[in-house]
Structures are given as C-alpha cells and as structure tokens.
C-alpha cells in the first residue's frame, strides 16, 4: 500500500516550522561564533543554590545545535510520510519535538544543573519514542532498557557534575572549564571523572554499556535515524567534548577513553557484519562511530580533535541518510532483510542516489566529506601520544569493516536480480527522499569545498574542545599528497572490498563465534530479574500486611536506635542510690505501676478499663503535688470521660479470647521488645535529666505573662495568648476527630450483616 493513499493531516506540517526556524536562527549565529566569540543567555532559576537557566553558544554547542535542528527538519518531514495514516501521528510529532528541544537544551546548557535536567529529559522522551509501538512487548522492553541504562548513568552524572561544580567553584560549565588545572589537581578528580564518564558512556553506548543501542531499533525508523545519527547517542560524546578542557589531558582520561573507544569501535564493527537486517546493521555502525569519537577525544592533539569535530558532522549526514533510506526501503518493499532485497535501483532511483552518495561518504571515498574525516582519523591516530600503533590498527580495522557495511547497504538492495519482497516496491514519496538526498549532497559538497563550508565551524568547535581562545584547527583539505594516511585509506578500501566479497562466509563465521560468547543483553536481563527478585523478597519481608509486625518493627527500631545512641555517646546513667522520696509519693507511683500490670494481664476488659482509670487518676495526683492544678483538673475530667466512653464501646466488642501474642515464642519476642523499649525510654529520660534545665522560655513567660498579656495564670496565658495558634490547631484536631467519629457512625455504605450483629450481641454481655 502506498503511503500517498493515507495522507497526513495538513496541520501536522506546522511542526516543520519549529526545526526550520531553529535551523535558520542557529545559522545566523555562525559568523559570530566562527569569529571566535561566544553567546550566553541566562535567567536566574534557583538563585539560592547557584542554579541558573543559562545557555552558552560556542563552536561546539553551535555545531551540535545546527545538526540537531537541520537533521530534525528532514526527520520531521520524513516522519509525516513514513507514519502517514498512523492514528497517533500527533502524539509522535509531540514526542519528537520534545526530544529535539531537550537535546538542544543539553548541548546549549551552560549551568550543570540545566544540563542535567535536559539530559534526563532526553532519556525520558527517547523512552517514549523507542517505545512508540507500545502494543509490542519487545518495543516496551527495549524502551525500558534504554531508560534504565541511560537513567542510571544520568544519576552518576548528576553526582559527578555537582562534585565538579563544587571543586571548580562554579556551576557554569564555561567557568568550570576555565578552572581545569584546579580540577585536575584536586583529590576528587578521579571520582568526578568516573561519575561523569559513567553518564557519558551509558548515553553514548560505550562498551560495556553498548547493548541498549541496537535494541533501541524497536523504534520507528525516523526515530532511529534521528536518535542514532545526530542526537541522543551523541549526547555522551558531546559531554566528553564539553568537559575536555576541565577533565581531559590526564593519564586516566587518556587510557579510559582510548580503551573503551577502541573496544567499542572494533567490536561494534564485527557485530555489524553479523546482521542481515539493514537497521541493526546501521545501528552497530553507529556504535562504531561513537567508539571512534571516544577514542579520539582521549587526546589533546589538534589533529585528533579536528578529526572528532569533522567526523561528528560527516557521520551525522551519512548516518541519518542511510537510516532514512533503510526506512524507505522497508516502507516500500515491506522488508529490510538484505537477502530478500535486490534490484531496487531502477524502481527507487532517488533513494538509490541518496544511498550511494551516503555510502561513498561512509566508506571514505574521495571526494566525499567522509574521506576528509577518515584521513583526519588516520592522521590523528598516528599523532596520538600514547600508543599510535594500537589506535591506528583499531581505526583501520573498524574503518575497513565500515567500508564493507557501506557496500552491503548501498549495493545489495539496489543492484542484482529483483528480490522477493512482500510488497511491490516503487519510489517513496518525495518527502521521504528529499532529506536523504539533501544530506548526502551536503556530504559531497563539504568534501569538495571543505575550506568554504566547514572551516569556520570546525575551527570554533576544535578550540572549544581544547579550551583555546582563538578558533583553530588542523587544515581541512581533500588532497594532502601521498603520505601514510593515504596509504592506510587505500588498505582500508581494499580490505573492505575483500570482506564484502567474502561477506556471507565472514558473516556465518562471526555468527558462530558470537553464539559461544555471553551476550551483554542476557546479562542485563539477568540483572533485571535479580533486581525484581530482590524487590519481591524484601517486600515480602517488610510488607507482611500484619499490623502487629509493623508495630514490632517500629518499636524495635526505636529501642535499638535509642539504645545504640546512648551507648555510643556514653550517656547511660544508672541511678546509684535509692532516691529519697516521701512515703505518699511512693504510694502514688506504686499505684501507677500496679495498675499498669493489672491492665496488661487482666483477663476481663472491665478490670483493664478500671485499672486504666486508676493510672489516669494517679497521674492527676502527681500533677497536683507538683504545682499543676490546671493540668490535674483537665486530666481528671478527660480520664472520667475516657473510662465511660471506652466502657460503652468496649462492651459492644467481643471478649478477649486470648491475649493476642500467639505462641510462647511470640510472647517472649513481644515481651523483649516491650521491655527493651521501656528501658531505652527510661535511660533516655535519665540522661536528659543529667543536664540543667534550660529555663529561658519559662523565664520569658513568667516575666511577660502579666505585663504583656494581662493574665495572672501563666499556663493559661501561654495557651491562649503566646501559643494561641497552637491551641487553635488543637481545637481543630478535636473538632475533626469529632466529625470523623460522627461520619463513621452515621454514614454507612451498606447495612451490616445479621451474623455480625448476632455475634456482637452474644459476646457483649460476657464481662
């Protein structure tokens, strides 16, 4: 079925205005930035915490911003046709727009908190995009995987950025980068580096976090084309480039990035050759590109960094093109399986043109921009301070396999005999090939006139990464004469051609080898399962649903917390001598303790209620003895009320069958916790009594009660004057309790059952 049959709503074309306008706006900044100036916008956000909504535009951020908005424009155009007739197209466009804006936020942010917020927004919005086909469980799982991996890295990044800001003394990246020497000399440097790199490596899918990226292919093709060319996965690369002046230029930085980058690049290229589906194959080449970028960001040489900047640009152009081509083939032919495709060149001429141009750029054939990129990569590799041989071989191996992939993607579907496709293929609508063609032609143009089209931006980008004031870069030109990099290019193409020729055999060999290796994806699944098991285990342990259990945990924690604190602080005070207390006071205290024991052990409810009354009255007596007649009066009144109400209600409840502590073990456990809590409270009170009373508040109330409030009863004055709002709150609490009681008794959803009624009546008169 042709896409033109189901037309998108014309209004959805409006979303094109946003990326279009942004592209133009960023383009107008080009001359300023190319001249070496920077632009900064800032609004106070949380001034007290030094958090500002600040944006900073230099060569590096402008490079990314331009790529994001320009490629975004073509992706939006493409997606309208690709998803034509989709009932949720509006939703999709919203997600895509949000994602684009978050991504722009990441690359433009100056404040580290602003950066982090947008960083997390890209994780969230990419989750929505990857899981767009939400009825497919695999799609949901892969979206969640991407979110979990990048979200975990995001948390590490937050910690790293905050430490970085503390060390550098500023939350603004522009200021942090200026304080690079202080950061590198600080004790926390290693910690900061690990945390920040965790964020960058998870986002940019560096080994060993590489597994989520190919899975993210579950997304509709426009999303893959966008996320895996210029945006999401480049955020990690951007971050490493951004903090290069402050965290780079150390041994740890050099080796971590070199190894992770090299392993990712080579391993991803091998895995790319294993695929038979166009999309996963391209996804693995994205990984390879990210690995290469990481590898070169390890260095501080001008050539290497120039290689990074040029390669970011070149890769974005050809990778977005190839993904869109793969999507167009899928859309028109109904499959992306390489084995089933063939002879599409005559049927889809424009798509074929874009694919050929992009593949040539990817393979690094002159005069495409990819050639300049690859030459720079080789020059950079040879200029690497640490281990030029290792880096050069890694780059060569990865690039040779890239040539092969480029050839597979551009030749297999388009040439040869006609394939056996589910749909009868024909050219995609113009909206789906115009983007790839324009981007591919841009790749060619940049290769033909590098000085004209690239130099300004590249120089500004290189100086931003290296933290230099003046725009500078290694000279960009197509022809450097016959030298070692050129020879290496020749070897690359030859090796790539060889691999292409032997591809079916190579593929099955890799496939067989991979089956024997543990897959990182399975490891992830294992970890997730453990995590869920752990959560279930601890939920079952803590959330038993038994109220008794919760109370036990609360009191045991209280007792243990108090006890440990008392012992650690050496605050345990034991009464040494028998206190000298008058006989009648002993009598009152003895009454309280005796009545308490009766309450606990009473078999009848009425006995317990009476004992509770005795306790309340004895406490009131204590209040009388120690100059608190007001309190004693209130206590007596309330105590009488309570006894009456409790007796009334309790007698409607069933009699005690047992004491509710279960078997013997239960009794002992409850008794131990109870006595332990009691002892902890007693000791705490004794420890508090060791210190002289702080009478400042009391003195104030005594001195001001009459002069300020004209009241002679100080307690009353405190209640109704000094702490009147408190008393008002107390009245409100009692009123609410009263209303709630009324509601509980009067408002009933249904009539209660006759059986309960009968049981209540039967057990009510037992005592």
């Amino acid at each position: 079925m042709a896409a033109s049959a189901a037309r998108s709503h014309p209004l959805t074309a409006l979303v094109l205005v946003l990326p279009g306008a942004l592209t133009v706006w960023f383009a107008t900044m080009l001359p300023t930035v190319a001249a070496g100036e920077t632009i900064r916008y800032a609004v106070d956000w949380v001034a007290g915490l030094d958090v500002a909504l600040s944006f900073y535009i230099d060569g590096l951020s402008l490079l990314f911003a331009l790529l994001i908005s320009l490629i975004g424009f073509f992706i939006f155009l493409y997606a309208r046709s690709y998803l034509a007739g989709d009932p949720h197209l509006g939703r999709f466009m919203l997600y895509l727009s949000l994602f684009m804006l978050s991504m722009l936020g990441v690359v433009l942010a100056d404040n580290v908190v602003t950066l982090f917020v947008f960083w997390e927004l890209t994780s969230l919005t990419s989750y929505l995009l990857i899981g767009y086909n939400h009825t497919d469980p695999k799609s949901r799982r892969n979206a969640l995987q991407a979110l979990v991996v990048t979200g975990t890295g995001g948390l590490a990044l937050l910690a790293g950025l905050i430490l970085l800001a503390l060390v550098a003394g500023s939350f603004e990246l522009s200021a942090i980068n200026a304080a690079g020497d202080a950061v590198r000399a600080h004790d926390w440097y290693l910690g900061i580096l690990i945390l920040v790199l965790l964020g960058a490596f998870t986002k940019s899918a560096q080994f060993p976090f590489h597994f989520w990226l190919p899975n993210a292919m579950a997304a509709p093709t426009p999303v893959s084309a966008y996320l895996h060319s210029a945006t999401m996965v480049k955020a990690g690369v951007y971050l490493m480039a951004r903090v290069h002046p402050s965290l780079g230029n150390t041994e740890v930085w050099l080796w971590t990035l070199t190894i992770a980058g090299a392993v990712t690049a080579v391993w991803a290229s091998i895995l790319a050759l294993r695929q038979t589906d166009l999309k996963p194959m391209l996804a693995y080449t994205t990984l390879m590109a990210l690995g290469t970028l990481t590898l070169f960001l390890a260095n501080t040489s001008e050539v290497a960094i120039t290689a990074v900047v040029v390669f970011i640009l070149v890769h974005s152009f050809y990778k977005a093109t190839l993904f869109m081509v793969a999507g167009a083939i899928d859309h028109e032919a109904g499959t992306r399986e390489i084995g089933r495709l063939g002879g599409l060149a005559r049927l889809m001429p424009f798509t074929c043109l874009a694919a050929a141009l992009a593949a040539l750029s990817m393979a690094g054939v002159p005069p495409f921009a990819g050639f300049i990129g690859k030459e720079l990569v080789y020059k950079g590799a040879l200029a690497v301070a640490s281990e030029p041989g290792f880096v050069a071989v890694a780059a060569l191996a990865a690039n040779a396999m890239m040539v092969t992939v480029a050839a597979i993607v551009a030749i297999k579907p388009f040439l040869g005999p006609k394939g056996d496709t589910p749909k009868k293929p024909h050219e995609a609508p113009w909206t789906m090939w115009i983007g790839p063609v324009v981007l591919a032609v841009l790749g060619l143009a940049c290769g033909l006139a590098p000085a004209l089209l690239l130099s300004g931006l590249v120089e500004a980008g290189v100086s931003a990464i290296l933290g230099l004031d003046e725009p500078t870069s290694y000279p960009l030109q197509l022809w450097h004469g016959v030298n070692l990099p050129l020879v290496m290019s020749g070897v690359t193409v030859a090796l790539g051609a060889l691999l292409f020729w032997q591809w079916p055999r190579v593929r099955s060999a890799i496939d067989a080898a991979c089956r024997r290796l543990p897959a990182a994806d399975a490891l992830y699944d294992g970890c997730m399962k453990r995590l869920v098991d752990l959560a279930e285990w601890q939920t079952a342990l803590l959330q038993t649903g038994s109220q008794r259990h919760y109370v036990l945990v609360v009191f045991a924690t209280l007792a243990a917390g108090l006890g440990v604190t008392l012992i650690v602080r050496d605050a345990v005070v034991l009464p040494t001598a028998m206190p000298q207390v008058a006989f009648y006071k002993w009598a009152v205290v003895g009454l309280i303790i005796a009545a308490t024991l009766v309450t606990v052990f009473a078999r009848s409810r009425l006995t317990a209620i009476c004992a509770l009354g005795v306790i309340g009255t004895s406490v009131a007596l204590l209040f009388v003895m120690y100059g608190a007649p007001d309190v004693a009066m209130t206590q007596l009144m309330v105590e009488i009320l309570i006894v009456i109400i409790v007796a009334l209600v309790m007698l409607r409840l069933p009699a005690f069958r047992d004491d509710g502590h279960g078997d013997r073990t239960g009794h002992i456990r409850d008794a131990v916790v109870a006595i332990g809590t009691g002892i902890a409270i007693s000791l705490t009170l004794l420890a508090v009594l060791q210190y002289p009373l702080d009478r400042r508040l009391t003195d104030y109330f005594e001195a001001n009660s009459y002069p300020e409030a004209l009241g002679r009863n100080i307690v009353n004055v405190i209640l109704v004057d000094f702490r009147a709002i408190d008393t008002f709150g107390e009245i409100a609490v009692v009123a609410i309790a009263g209303l709630a009681c009324f509601a509980l008794i009067k408002l009933r959803p249904g009539r209660r059952s006759a059986a309960v009624e009968k049981e209540a009546a039967a057990s009510g008169g037992d005592d």
Partner: protein, 131 residues
C-alpha cells in the same frame, strides 16, 4: 523524684508496647491510652519537678512570687491531653466500626488493604459487607 518518675515512665512504655503488639484491637486501644499517660509524664518530669506553688502571678505584682512550677511543660501537657483524647475517641469508633464491618477484632484478620500473598481459603467471617 525525677529518677522514680523516669523508671515509672519506662514501666508505662513497656506496658504500652506490649499491649500494642497484641493482635487484639481492644488491647491495642488500651496501649494507646497508656501511651498518652507515659508521654505526659515524660514531658512533666523532663520539665523539672518543683514542689507546691502553681505558676501564678499574685494580685498587685507583675511577676510570680519566688519559685513556682515550670509553666511551659504544663501548657504542653494540657494540649497533649486534649489531643490524645481526640485521637482515642477516633480510634475507639474506628475499632468499633471495623468490628461491625469485618466481624473481628483480630488485626491479623483485617487484610482488605494488604491481602495475604498466598491464596487462602475464603473465610466467611471476614466478609461482613457481603450482605
């Protein structure tokens, strides 16, 4: 005397905890009543015990004569007594209504919010609202 009261508070708290650990809702409510007494006594003894004189300002004078009892803990306890009365009344009515609806005062049987994880045989006593 503060030492004696500290020990008394300990006994009250131990009894409170023991009662509140019971499955029986009635015992739990008794524990709640004891708890408020224990808390009030704690505040009272921590505020310093002074024999005799209530905190009053006599006629014709601007400040109390001599040493009087500490007024601040008394004010706090007055508030606490009233609030714990409100709490207790509510708890009582809640217990009563829970018994009417669920037909039990055993808190281990009250499992509407958090049902037992394993499937269990239906207990007719637990379905008071079914009628």
């Amino acid at each position: 005397m503060e030492t004696v009261l500290a020990v008394t508070v300990g006994v009250l708290v131990a009894a409170t905890v023991y009662l509140m650990l019971s499955r029986n809702l009635v015992k739990f409510v008794f524990g709640l009543m004891l708890l408020s007494n224990a808390a009030n006594l704690t505040i009272f003894s921590a505020g310093g015990l002074i024999r005799g004189e209530p905190p009053l300002v006599p006629e014709g004078s601007y400040v109390p004569d001599g040493v009087v009892a500490n007024a601040l803990p008394q004010a706090l306890i007055l508030t606490a007594i009233v609030i714990s009365f409100g709490l207790l009344a509510f708890a009582l009515v809640l217990a009563y209504r829970a018994y009417q609806e669920l037909g039990t005062v055993d808190t281990d049987e009250m499992r509407i919010a958090e049902p037992r994880p394993e499937p269990r045989t239906p207990a007719p006593a637990g379905k008071g609202t079914a009628a």
